[in-house]
Symmetry: C2
Subunit: 592 residues, 2 copies
């Protein structure tokens, strides 16, 4: 196949698009691969579509290799099935909704668990029909609050979603393992580095889930890695509780005046000045306890106010708090929320006051109280005393106050202990490139998918769900593989295998270019031929670098002597050669 | 590629689905190709997806052959661009609409003229960039009032839509011709009979348009064919006006009592009884003039009341009326409409009364009047006299009454004259399988797509748009090619090239089947292998006939002797053969 730049529908741009935050977005637009249609919604031009097809082909091959069968569902589905599973509420505004002319409620499907479950229920009825894994490669829609970074977080995106159906847990383990293996092969073939982390199941529900994270600075996720190699999404990081402390030597809580201490730092300085420690050491932020008043909202819109205490030297991580509270949305309480509370003195909130417990089950305020999981029993704290301009010190956990429970609430930092005891962790940024879930029986139960087992008894099917974002992965390949002059595609997904550039005066370069294009084509290469006349060598080379085809064969000045240059886009190396040797040279040096 | 029926995700059904009106719908569901998700919305199972891919591949090849380049647009687009082109109003309820979380209005694109126009405007600026034809194969959405017949009129369907961009009319003619040729090749390869008819451009706008109709009893369209081969959509049929008649011998109009004449038949009988013709011949329905009070509604919802007169021996064809009135929707006036009219006596409406003209420019009612185009000047009519229980005869067109204009309003019947004078036409049912439009400058003007011409002058680009319904064509292939036992796929689009059926006692049939499956696979055939154990030969053969793979190789009773039967699904012929000859036999007898 030969495509000619003189007719190819492409226009390379000199300028970066104004809204591009990341390299992949910038370069895919500038090189004429994609074009924005609406926020987070793109059209695919011929170059982009070629790369997308190659990524899809890799995904499809690896799915087929593990016996998954391809189907294709509509993007528009009845809202009813999402109502039945509870996801209509879980997704909330993120799900695009519409009604048809008869008023029937529809959604643009964000994923298809419900529809696949119902289809299998519709057609299958026996354990003999299982195991089954079916998948589709399809456009999905999510009305993200903040679409960003081009294809990395779009509102329309192409995804491979697979669903497994098994009669028992052992079967699910096997289906899950097969998909997990396929994912590892997919990312290796795409040349995308990855770590597999224990993940939060989010709106998907279910029991076990792992995320494939691609480490990248442009990522939205943070994950932790232990010296042992153990990795986890930061939302799933489990902190190590401090060893219980013997507080018998600590005196009773002491309330002290604390005017003008709006921050932890001012509070610590003030405490060191007015209530110095008995042992002569200084109070630090680590001795203070911050109490955050949070509103938790569930899918049905039910709002609960709780207070969460974290050590004063750490920020709270609301994403971790949300996971700790079963996926409820967490946000700081509003003025309106505060008006409804009594017994809490804003700015001086703590679990205790001179009159006794304030927060938690026995507290006077009636507001539930949770403490960060890392805090040790018997530890003593400086915290609010629930009086205007008053704090307390020597307030001992377990002696003076008791929370309703422990939660993972504090931010995770480099050097924190790893849950597997292998030493200090490090944190890194990454982006999800794949996600595998053991859904278990959640959807099958909600939608009534049962089959007869070997004893003729109806049993609920157990399911898995497995997603790879095709377009996001494509963008990450571009992100991981570019330089300041343009894209540098790996052979596996490049839009063309080779680009032939004819440039120079007279007919020779163009005749030689034509001959070379045909020669590569005949050898099974996909060829982009820059046959444009009246375009300067500089523009041609610049376009070639921007477009990023791995091998560029230049029929230039020495065409009349039958000589060309072969240009390796990745290394930048240019090798002068007799034209007859170009094909053999590229064949010998290809990386894929 | 070998797929095994023991694991293939398919369930053949004994019963027809309750909602299936046509054979393709019935059989595609029963044989496990598709499954309904909502009215007019289907999921594609593995068998169906395979056929769909093959149809798409044919379309893609023929597009590429004529130089069209593939792109891919989102299904969700901003409503704004459809507002700019006027199509938001034109499509009305047929366009699915939604809003995002920020209230931005979006649509599910019914076709993509606007987005393609804007993309070319965005990237191209010179005549040197043209001509350009770009296409996509993509899922479209239309909220049909009456989705029907399975895939034949769905609310979600896959379509190939192509758009051409040219600097001048000659270029458009060429681009249009190339697409038209490609369409002829596509339908020939699909084995779908077609006629090309002059068509109404409908909501698409533009100047010239032709429709590819596939003649079929399940079609929704009627078209006419002349002895010369000329064919037209019935909406575009142009009637031949009768020769002007010398009415000088006809006396003045005569009003007569006409109680109890609710129908044309009763009116004619009554007229023959009370006001016999002077020449002794009988009045017939052809002497009466029916006046229909119609409400015309445009895209903006503007409603106009008009009266349309057609000969009493013909029904009015409201689809033809709609085209005649520039695509406005036509429906019988409602009681509410009538309340607003004055001077028209319902049941006795005519253009004239004893007091003078009633309808048309000079009429006392002020209601516009249009007459069917076939009616001859000077013809005399029996029609309503605008008085309760009174009609008039000898009312002469041009002498006693004058319409505001002529329209194509009467139904078209077999035997009507062909517009090209080649003799009587015949009418037939068909379904649109492709449509080519010369849009001209309508969209380019509305959206400002101009490029510099050779003289450096900005000129508006001229466009064409070209659509083929992939899923509808697939259904029509099934419709045209089945028998009472199941589908009979032509080689070009069959889900598999050959089906190997192992059946019988012992291991031999299964071992031989396995060997044959591998042999066909190695020879490049796509193989479906019925390797199911404990399934009776009857069920296996029934499933094979239902699924409709063109060649079925049966490894049965004589497997131990190395003998098989090759079964031609189309003719039903079974040929016993040594197993070693099966491949050669199928190769020699394939039709594609």
């Amino acid at each position: 196949m030969i495509e000619r730049l003189s007719t190819l529908f492409v226009r390379t741009l000199r300028e970066d698009p104004g809204d591009a935050e990341v390299a992949s977005h910038r370069l895919l637009v500038r090189a004429g691969y994609i074009r924005r249609q609406a926020p987070g919604i793109f059209a695919w031009l011929p170059l982009g579509l070629r790369v997308k097809r190659r990524v899809e082909a890799i995904v499809r091959e690896e799915m087929t290799r593990v016996g998954a069968q391809e189907v294709s569902f509509p993007g528009v589905l009845p809202a009813e099935m999402y109502e039945a599973s509870g996801r209509l509420a879980d997704y909330g505004d993120t799900m695009f909704r519409l009604a048809d002319r008869k008023g029937a409620e529809l959604v643009l499907a964000p994923t298809h668990e419900e529809a696949f479950t119902l289809l299998v229920k519709d057609l299958y009825s026996s354990y003999k029909d299982l195991p089954l894994t079916i998948f589709q490669i399809q456009d999905k829609y999510r009305d993200e609050a903040r679409p960003r970074a081009g294809l990395l977080r779009g509102r329309e995106f192409t995804m491979k979603d697979a669903y497994s159906f098994d009669i028992d847990d052992a079967g699910l383990d096997e289906s899950y393992g097969a998909q997990r293996d396929a994912y590892e092969r997919i990312f290796r073939r795409l040349g995308l580095e990855y770590v597999i982390v224990a993940a939060d199941a989010g709106a998907m529900g279910g029991s076990k889930s792992e995320e494939f994270l691609h480490p990248t600075e442009v990522g939205e996720d943070t994950f932790v890695v232990a010296p042992s190699g153990y990795a986890a999404n930061v939302e799933r990081y489990v902190s190590t509780p401090g060893e219980p402390i013997d507080a018998s030597g600590i005196g009773a809580p002491v309330v002290f005046d604390s005017p003008d201490t709006p921050t932890i730092d001012t509070l610590v300085a003030h405490a060191n000045a007015v209530v110095p420690r008995a042992d002569g050491a200084a109070w630090t932020a680590a001795h203070t306890l911050k109490n955050l008043v949070l509103a938790l909202t569930d899918g049905a819109g039910e709002r609960e106010i709780v207070v969460v205490g974290v050590p004063g030297d750490r920020a709270a991580d609301l994403k971790r708090v949300e996971v700790a509270f079963g996926g409820r949305e967490a946000e700081p309480a509003t003025d309106e929320d505060f008006e409804k509370l009594s017994g809490l003195v804003r700015g001086y909130i703590g679990p205790w006051s001179a009159d006794g417990p304030v927060l938690g089950a026995d507290g006077s305020s009636g507001v539930p109280y949770y403490l960060d999981a890392s805090i040790a029993e018997g530890s003593a704290w400086i915290t609010g005393a629930n009086e205007h301009e008053k704090h307390v010190h020597s307030l001992v956990l377990g002696r003076d106050f008791t929370p309703d429970g422990r939660v993972e609430a504090a931010e995770v930092l480099d050097g924190d202990p790893s849950p597997d005891g292998s030493g200090p962790i490090r944190t890194a940024r990454g982006t999800e490139i794949g996600h595998v879930f053991q859904l278990g029986r959640k959807y099958a139960e909600a939608l009534g998918l049962k089959v007869l087992d070997q004893n003729g008894k109806l049993v609920t099917v157990t399911m898995g769900s497995y997603g790879v974002g095709v377009t996001r992965n494509l963008a990450l390949v571009a992100e991981a593989s570019h330089d300041e002059r343009g894209l540098v595609w790996p052979e596996a997904v490049a839009p063309f295998d080779v680009q032939v550039v004819a440039t120079g005066k007279g007919a020779e370069p163009f005749e030689l270019g034509e001959r070379l294009a045909n020669e590569f084509d005949a050898a099974g290469f996909e060829v982009l031929f820059d046959d444009r006349v009246k375009v300067s060598p500089g523009v041609k080379f610049g376009d070639a670098e921007l477009i990023g085809v791995p091998w560029i064969v230049i029929a230039g000045k020495e065409s009349a002597d039958g000589r060309v240059e072969v240009w390796d886009r990745r290394t930048g190396e240019r090798t002068p050669l007799p034209a007859d040797e170009a094909l053999a040279f590229v064949r010998a040096n290809r990386r894929g």
